[in-house]
Subunit: 83 residues, 2 copies
């Protein structure tokens, strides 16, 4: 139960953490200092975490990584668009 | 066994994903487009994932999040230094 709560908090924080970066890009249309490799590799990694979460049946891992995957892909798309 | 391999790959990719961003900052000394909130909140979230990994005894989660926590903190430190 403790692990579920900590996992949900961890997932929640990691999920919301990418929102300010996304908002910053939308506002400034500047992505020069962001690493395309970082967010591309991160997207693949997070997708594998999602698969991993499904395999071990851990809800916090599944939910947070599904959300982070979408945000990370959006950052990659904007990095390509505004480069 | 499959989940362990996928988890280790996921952890490995997420770990290495932050290196290009760190290298980019060291090289350019530019962090204007990076969101301080993103990397600060991410650091706390990743630290909680580390605790979660310890609690449920999952090695891929422990190893990758310990590494990402250090890299994320370094990015936060450089964002503050080079702002």
């Amino acid at each position: 139960m403790t692990s579920l709560i900590i996992g949900l908090c961890a997932g929640m924080l990691c999920m919301v953490s990418f929102l300010p970066q996304l908002i910053k890009i939308v506002r400034t249309k500047q992505t020069k200092d962001l690493s395309l490799i970082t967010f591309s590799v991160l997207s693949v990694g997070v997708f594998l975490w999602l698969i991993y979460g499904i395999l071990i049946g851990e809800l916090p891992i599944i939910l947070s990584n599904a959300f982070i995957f979408v945000l990370s892909l959006l950052i990659v798309a904007m990095k390509i668009k505004y480069k």
